[in-house]
């Protein structure tokens, strides 16, 4: 075989192999959705959607599948965590970029980088041993919606801060130089020059973290109390959709298991929409 043909064949083989590898990623997504669907199917077939919202309660053994409290629990925790972490994250990033001396900003930045890598189960654990008892002093039982919100905030806060920071850093310095040359002051520049430009990147980052917050399982499971109920106050225990799955999978059977899979599928769809929305936003940003 001549050198020519050997080279050509090698290149062709390479192309094929690489293409197949890339296809694995597509196949895996299909596989995931497929298996979730298959496992959820009994549930989808037999129960009407209204069950999830209007059944008596969550008693899978009795054939009752009220998912509403869990859905509300997930949403409340996510909303609470986002409400806390977005402003704190953004203001901290503003601090790093515009107000703090460099040594402090760098120190804090390194720290936050490390923090973003800490497993969420560690935050959950710390929540149990520190936060819950603290809350319990104020209002028993301690394991509550609020505890969940606080722990979840600790989990997403580092990443949001880093995202906010990098969004600010990516703004073209020329805009800022021009603003300074025009005699604008710090607050005006931050509010009217920097922030509008950073909005898009911030939004994308926030949406992705919201997806992560909804998907967080164990940390919230550890501190939320896991009672299936619509909470009357933030000091009452709740259960999230994700914790529900984690808790009950161990002993769930047949329809019960199917219901859990279905709730997992629903979560996936929510996350899917969030991802698509953030991609759309990014696309729009590129087209500007």
């Amino acid at each position: 075989m001549s050198l020519l043909t050997r080279r050509k064949q090698r290149d062709q083989l390479l192309h094929l192999t690489l293409k197949l590898s890339a296809l694995v990623s597509i196949i895996s997504l299909f596989a995931i959705i497929l298996f979730l669907l298959v496992e959820s199917w009994p549930m989808i077939e037999s129960t009407a959607i209204s069950q999830y919202f209007f059944a008596e309660s969550w008693h899978p053994t009795n054939g009752e599948f009220l998912l509403l409290p869990m859905i509300v629990g997930s949403l409340l925790i996510m909303a609470g965590a986002m409400l806390l972490s977005i402003p704190i994250g953004i203001f901290t990033a503003i601090l790093w970029q515009f107000y703090a001396p460099r040594w402090f900003s760098t120190l804090l930045e390194r720290m936050v980088e490390v923090l973003s890598g800490i497993p969420s189960v560690v935050y959950g654990f710390w929540g149990i041993v520190v936060i819950v008892p603290l809350l319990a002093v104020y209002q028993a039982p301690g394991t509550s919606l609020l505890a969940g919100i606080i722990v979840l905030t600790l989990i997403v806060l580092p990443t949001i801060t880093l995202v906010a920071n990098s969004t600010f850093q990516q703004i073209d310095k020329h805009y800022i130089q021009n603003a300074i040359a025009l005699g604008l002051s710090r607050f005006t520049i931050i509010r009217h020059v920097i922030f509008p430009q950073a909005k898009r990147g911030l939004l994308t980052g926030v949406i992705l973290q919201a997806g992560r917050a909804i998907g967080e399982t164990l940390a919230v499971l550890m501190v939320c109390g896991n009672v299936v109920q619509l909470p009357g106050s933030i000091f009452e225990p709740v259960r999230t959709l994700t914790s529900n799955i984690a808790l009950e999978m161990a002993y769930a059977m047949d329809m019960h298991r199917s219901a859990l899979f279905l709730s997992g599928l629903m979560l996936m769809l929510v996350v899917l929409s969030l991802v698509l929305i953030s991609e759309k936003l990014k696309q729009q940003g590129n087209n500007l």
Partner: protein, 280 residues
Amino acid sequence: MNTSTTQAHLKAVPENYTAAPGVDKLPALINIENFSLSYDKQPVLESLSLPVYKNHINTLIGPSGCGKSSLLNSIIRLTDYHDNAKLEGSINIEGKNILETSTDLLSLRQNIGMVFQKPMPFPMSIRKNFELPLKEQGVKKRDELDSKIETALKDVGLWDEVSSRLDKSAVQLSGGQQQRLCIARALALQPKALLMDEPCSALDPIATKTIEELILKLKGKYTILIVTHNLSQAKRIADYVAFMWYHQGRGKMIEHNHADVIFNNPSNPTTLAYVQGLTE
């Protein structure tokens, strides 16, 4: 010649002018015939014809943007990297039209070397920079590799400067040295022709002078097609000059002749205006 007349001449390109036919009966290593190129449905070159004479220094001059680089890229089919490049006509190298899909591109590029405006030695040792293309060509034995590297470096006058540091990174050389290295790297494959796309534009005047002397030395051993926007350079080194201009956004061949003729007595008024107006 006053500027307004120059401008007038520069604007007045006759509609259907075609280049003068091949001036000598010299053998042309590369024969470009009625070649047209378009990217994404936008025409870039129109019906270009050009013989590239063997073992001579053929230069391509013209204003920037008229497609000179695209022509060079087409010769070694770098255009294949564009999704929507359309090539028509023929580019014959030793009788074979390399525009055909059956052409083996790897061999084509080993036969026709190309050097670019920005010298880009690979970020590895000098030796490795040579070994990669040589090994691709099938050269395996250590002594063969070493001797080819030595010959190539000697051809470009770099041997004395780098022979003691062949295993050090090529990126640490100066700009002029890097460009000579890239030329040597292309020459190591013993190509039939060497295409050069504004090889001195990124270099300082002293490095430029060294490269020009090198090019003159290579004449006779290699067929050279060099694109340059520097007319003084063209005057210094060219044997044959092809002048391109753009017409309705496409590059066209206006005139092709001996360097003497083009610079002193061109037939086409545009050529005259360009050559004189810009070297004043």
